[in-house]
């Protein structure tokens, strides 16, 4: 058991890749079943993380470490805390659904497709468990390759443009982060005598942090650029709509479900504790950008004629919440952000899956092609409604918990911007419900829509876990908070901001 626990993360990370490698030996038509089985196995394995993680224990658990590149001070070290645990679970949870959802839509080069999906899972899991900045960077970049191919090969009409844009945007952002990582490693050598890119070592490095363009400030910007592009934060978001619209359903799901989370995760795991002063300096800059992203994303989403693009811009808006929650720099906001990442990883994939299902039936994503779909696809309509409600953050669904905490946190940090951000609540409802109405309600006039079939059993199986998760996460968020709260608190502690939680309590005591 000891051995099992200390290699579990490696197993979770690389099992999909190995599984995919074995899968290449199988006949073309059976690969999908093989891939599905693999993703289920990985998911079951990952549940061990939940049972094994003790929030009261060490900050990082399931640690494992081996020397990898001593020349660069790089170790192969993996570990996990409450934040990464949930994100890993999200990844392993989405993976079988994504594979199952592709059963019908993908017919061209199936083997490559499922191989890439599994390889992508390795990259994503790896990025979440890496405890070494360099290792993190490796996974971060390696993730791009499968995604690039998924968009570029199985994507829509403008897939090549979108794939290129996706790849280069992300790459450009992350390259400077690598320079910053090296710079930190070198600073570690100057201060402690040896090169190290290990995260826990770099936490200890002291850097000049006064002003916007101090050492910390510049390094923070290098990191923040990478993460902000990934999040994506206004105004660096323009790759997202293109990538989402062109990507195949599975690509969009993974992109929205997991890849965007990398940005938020990067902020809280890397940028915050490494550059506490710079974070405080840039706090309001990012709060402003995040608030703009919320409103801007919502407004632009409102006028999109394409369902996927609409959902994509809604991601910009939703991820704006994540950013302001994080930069509120208090535990309410940060916990809310992490939770919002999970929410967004549940509800947006559900929406993309459903758009994909419509697309598989009608081969169009134009909203105006639809209307009155409820009549022919009532069950689908129910599912779509629930996902929509989750997206508009109705209390009782997961979205509310995240947004509420984030806005509360942000309100404590900067009430003015929080007011701006809260208007997102209104516009969020506007664009989602408007789309819902145009697609689902109204008379069923388009003759092509009259013969649409309702959800098949397979599709229902894909959607049900997500819908259940939306409700469960909305009703019993504590189940999730219990395991992540201490981790968030510890990371915030490193940023050196002791938050003032109950001001009244203090005031009363003072009285």
């Amino acid at each position: 058991m000891e051995w099992f626990n200390s290699h579990l993360l490696t197993g979770l990370t690389f099992l999909p890749l190995v599984w995919a490698a074995v899968g290449t030996l199988l006949p073309e038509k059976t690969v999908k079943h093989w891939a599905f089985a693999g993703s289920i196995v990985v998911f079951l394995l990952s549940l061990k993380l939940y049972t094994g993680y003790d929030p009261q224990g060490a900050e990082f658990q399931f640690l494992e470490s081996a020397e990898w590149i001593p020349g660069l001070g790089v170790n192969y070290s993996l570990g996990m805390d409450g934040i990464s645990m949930w994100l890993i679970l999200l990844t392993t949870f989405l993976s079988p659904l994504v594979i199952l959802s592709s059963y019908q839509g993908v017919e061209d080069r199936e083997k490559s497709y499922y191989t890439l999906l599994l390889a992508l899972q390795t990259g994503m899991t790896g990025a979440f468990v890496a405890m070494d900045t360099f290792l993190f960077y490796v996974f971060w970049e390696a993730m791009l390759i499968p995604m690039y191919f998924l968009i570029g090969i199985w994507g829509g009409k403008e897939r090549i443009y979108a794939a290129m844009k996706f790849f280069i945007f992300t790459m450009v952002g992350s390259l400077l982060m690598l320079v910053a990582i090296f710079f930190l490693a070198y600073q570690h050598k100057l201060q402690f005598g040896n090169f190290s890119t290990a995260l826990l070592d770099l936490y200890k490095v002291k850097l000049d942090g006064a002003g916007y363009f101090s050492t910390q400030g510049l390094l923070f910007l290098a990191f923040a650029l990478a993460f902000a592009i990934k999040v994506p934060l206004f105004p660096l978001h323009t790759w997202l709509p293109d990538a989402h619209v062109q990507a195949p359903t599975a690509g969009s799901v993974i992109l929205a479900g997991v890849l965007l989370k990398m940005g938020g995760y990067g902020f809280i795991r890397f940028a915050f504790p490494l550059f506490p002063q710079a974070v405080a300096t840039y706090q309001h800059t990012f709060l402003i950008l995040g608030s703009i992203a919320i409103v801007y994303g919502a407004w632009v989403a409102m006028v999109q004629p394409d369902m996927k693009k609409l959902v994509a811009y809604s991601s910009v808006s939703h991820m704006g919440y994540v950013v302001i929650g994080l930069f509120a720099l208090n535990s309410i906001g940060a916990t809310g952000s992490v939770y919002q990442m999970l929410n967004h990883g549940i509800s947006t994939p559900a929406l993309f899956l459903m758009v994909g299902m419509l697309y598989e039936r009608r081969h169009t994503k134009e909203i105006k092609e639809y209307g009155g779909i409820t009549k022919v696809m009532p069950l689908f309509a129910v599912a779509f409604m629930i996902a929509t409600l989750s997206s508009v953050a109705l209390p009782g669904t997961n979205g509310f918990v995240g947004e509420f905490l984030i806005l509360l946190g942000a309100f404590k940090a900067n009430p003015g911007l929080a007011v701006l951000a809260t208007t997102g609540v209104i516009f969020g409802a506007v664009y989602m419900l408007w789309m819902f109405q145009r697609v689902m309600f109204g008379p069923l006039t388009n003759p092509e829509n009259k013969k649409l079939k309702d959800l098949s059993l397979r599709e229902a199986c894909v959607l049900t876990p997500l819908l259940v998760a939306m409700i469960v996460m909305g009703v019993v968020p504590n189940f999730f908070f219990e395991k992540m709260e201490t981790s968030v608190a510890k990371l915030l502690e490193r940023t050196g901001k002791v938050e003032m939680v109950a001001q009244t309590a203090i005031r009363k005591d003072g009285k």
Binding site: I69, F139, E141, I145, F149, M164, L176, L178, V179, F182
Partner: protein
Amino acid sequence: MDKLNVIDPSFLTLSGDQLALLGPYFWMIGAALLAMIVGVIRFLPSKWTVFAVAMVGILGGLFVSANQIGMDRADLFGGMMVADGFSAFFNVLFLGTAALSLCASLKYLDKEKLQYPEYTILLLFSTIGMMLMASALDLITIFIALEIMSLSVYVLVGFRRNDRRSNEAAMKYFILGAAASAILLYGSALLYGSTGTFVITEILARISAKGDLMTPVFHLGAWMVLAGFLFKIASVPFHMWLPDVYEGAPTPITGFMTTGVKAAAFAAFIRVFVAFGYGKDLTSAVEGRLHDVLWVLAVATMFIGNVIALTQTNLKRMLAYSTIAHTGYLLVGMIAAPHAESGFAPVAMYLAVYTVMNLGAFAVLSVLAGRGDTGLNLHDLSGLGKRHPWLAFSLAIFLFSLAGIPPTAGFASKYYLLYSAIQAKEVWLVVLAVLCSAIAVYYYLRVLVYMYMREPQADTPSAKDFTPAAAAFAVAMMVAMTLQIGILPAKMMAITKRVVAKL
């Protein structure tokens, strides 16, 4: 005045140990001579006999060299030549390059109807020249080695004798190469004039002992020598010949040149670079300027190489420009090396990795090239992923590696290099380098776009062509190494660190 005792017996006698150190050279020279003999025996199938002889020689040398990597430094011929880990490392590199280029050439030559023993023999000779470049410690020996290599390569570039492009490329290469040789040689003369010796260790010793030896003439000489090397490694603005030559040369030779010739030039460059006391704070005033010059050249090289590569549609030419860009990265490593803990190790590693991945890419292109080196435009690759899945996969791996994306060798080595630059406090240089490599990503990926994301066009060869076994072997080896070094780079780093330790 006494009679001069010009004959030092120690020069004339080589001990058994020292002879053993020369093993790789003997293997190669023996193979070259034997190939010349068997190549003209009429009743032998020269294609296979010459190939076999050459491979035996190369592999023999490779085996011996590989065993020498860990050894200590041994001066030979009164310090004119050295056998140390560094030379052994590069010998392995050159011999490997030669072996794989030969494998990739086999089918190509049939296709081009160029199956002559001279090709193989010249390849062997040029490899010998490279090996000597990496181990020579004396300006004259370096020059002769350089010429052995260059003369053979000039001819190899023009080996498609009936092709105008090949002829033109050879001629251009020759004229500019000869002029550059002359410049290098003049530099050597000036160095000799200011220090009285050719042996580069001796030069270093003398200028270290007597600082006022570093006169303007010395610096002129040093710079002329460096300029000669900068020409060979094709740094901006001495790079103009490279794209034309690479495009015109037979594809396997282009691969051989981008890797072997370039690595050899860098090996000698490193030796000479060290000898001038650069980075050792001997001449702070000029050194600062030298640093500035190299800094500007490195940035210009990275930038120009990448932006022009962006505009190319011919794959060979695109890779030629990318070679220039990679030279820029290597120059970054050169600038940083004296100040970084790892020294020249990142440069050596980068060269090794670059050799692997670029040779692999050209091996794939050799297979894909139609008669007369046609069919290497981007649109000719449309749908390659379906026509030749494994070749396309290999090329994709090489291109990712060239672009520096994990988990490939190109990533590990590039960032080892940049890491050393950070240690040398060249943060802005590194920032510029990564921005340039971001530009590079675009044109590497564009190839993938054609291979995987476009359907085959009407005029692209549609049939699944047969991939020759030798070339397939070469490509497979390169893929394996690219991934292996990419995933576990530590061993390679340790080796390179060891071989540069006693430069």
